[in-house]
Amino acid sequence: MNREDFPMLEDNIVYFDNGATTLKPRCVVEAMNRYYYEHTSNIHRGDYTAAMITNELYDGVRNLVGEFIHCDPNCVVYTSGATHSLNMVVFGYMRKHLKKGDEVLLNKAEHASNILPWIKLREEIGIEIRYVPLNKQYELTYEAIEKSVTDKTKVISLAHVTNVIGDVRDVKRIGKFCREHNILFNVDGAQSVPHMKVDFEDSYMDFLSFSGHKMCGPTGVGILVGRKDLLEEMEPLCYGGGMNSFFEEDNSYELKEVPVRFEAGTPPIAEVIGLGEAIRYLMNIGMDRIHEHEMKLKKYLLEKIKDFDSIILYNKSSDSGILAFNLNGVFAQDSSVFLNHYHIAVRAGNHCAKMLKDEVQIKNTVRVSMYFYNNYEDVDRLVEALQNSHDIFKVVL
């Protein structure tokens, strides 16, 4: 779908590294260019025409996010990306509200940005981190979570969709359980918000983080959505201009309202505007259509490679456009270098999920991650390359 909107696809490449970042459609880059060429100005400070155009566009993105994921626009915080958002939750809210011995439930398929901040917080205040076991398909089930909860559990923090296995967690059911048991529900939406319909309120989420660049938007911008009462209680991690009402010689000060109190300094204005354009673009296509399309492509790929003896698959059953595999006896990076000879972009490595090796017993995989602009021909080209992989070292060495 919509391939003509992506200049990079004119170069005849197959881009299957969408889990890392996505390509940018013209409209997003043009929206940012208009800011740079036609109405460059800082926000909330100017009374001239360019500044008013910028303000309107910049502030308007909160409404778009609200519509996109169904949340209160006043609870939308602009950040530098999902990693920043997750760190704000852990160090801005949890550090203040958790105490020694409180349990946080994670799992070993999580990205570094939803594990390392918690490990650091554990070091600082002595919370307990527990890992909910994955099932045989390396997926996290509602039942496993329910079984792991104790009366000390204060937070469940997980990715809606994981970035290697790609299993879609039942956030609505988990969220409802959390709400009923007075457990905070923190969701990393970096791999779900770009690919499927996500509903913040309907899924009882307390915090949701995601990045712009994984959803056709620019790098350097992301979103944190939080429940209003929790954001009111969250500490800013950064202080400066734009986020205070006053400060005086006697050391008194007052912060502005949520969410601007979390946005000290000049924010990534062009990037926020670009993200807004990306959201509009995705909503026009339709999130359900995007998810359906990716699933069709994944099914088609699995069907095509089902008789390939040389491929070890790790996540056939997961309900997203992510496929993790290895070629038998070949190091993942050599496989990705091989595919690059066919102009196919994939990712090799541990994908920042460094604990997943404890469950899968393999450190590195090749990851194919799809998006709506991939088509059946892309899959055919991948399959053809994989068919030639018996010659891999003739190609990569």
Binding site: F331, A332, V337
Partner: protein, 140 residues
């Protein structure tokens, strides 16, 4: 160098690397390359006695270029003095980055003289030399 011969040397050293497998010995210097790259994870250990490299061993998971370069590099360095090792590493690095170097000093390591054409593989080829340099720093 003939392309087939080049490929054969690299592949042979990848599939049958020498000095693979770590041993328990407190007299060895040790380093892990995990911090150097997200994916190539090799452990190195090296024993130096009277200013001479007596042994180098390695183990772990890495790509064909890193693994083969490690195997060839270790073979090249065992038996050399610390100062000879430094000269070899300097010339090797110069070759990788297309600067002037003495190919006579490098022997089979010359198989990587075209690696600059694949920028994403430069780090793979440099991995063993970075590891040895780190262990030499520990000596100071």
């Amino acid at each position: 160098m003939d392309e087939n011969l080049r490929r054969e040397i690299i592949l042979d050293n990848y599939q049958n690397p020498e000095n693979r497998g770590l041993i328990e010995d407190k007299d060895y210097l040790k380093v892990n390359t995990n911090s150097e790259s997200c994916i190539d994870n090799l452990d190195f250990m090296m024993k130096i006695e009277d200013g001479i490299v007596k042994d180098i061993r390695f183990d772990g998971e890495a790509c064909a270029i890193s693994t083969s370069a490690t195997s060839i590099m270790i073979r090249k360095l065992i038996g050399k003095t610390v100062s000879e090792v430094k000269t070899i590493l300097e010339n090797y690095r110069n070759m990788i980055y297309e600067k002037e170097y003495d190919s006579e000093l490098l022997g089979e390591l010359n198989v990587y003289d075209q690696i600059h054409k694949q920028p994403n593989r430069i780090h793979c080829a440099l991995l063993p030399s970075i590891a040895v340099e780190k262990m030499l720093e520990e000596l100071k």
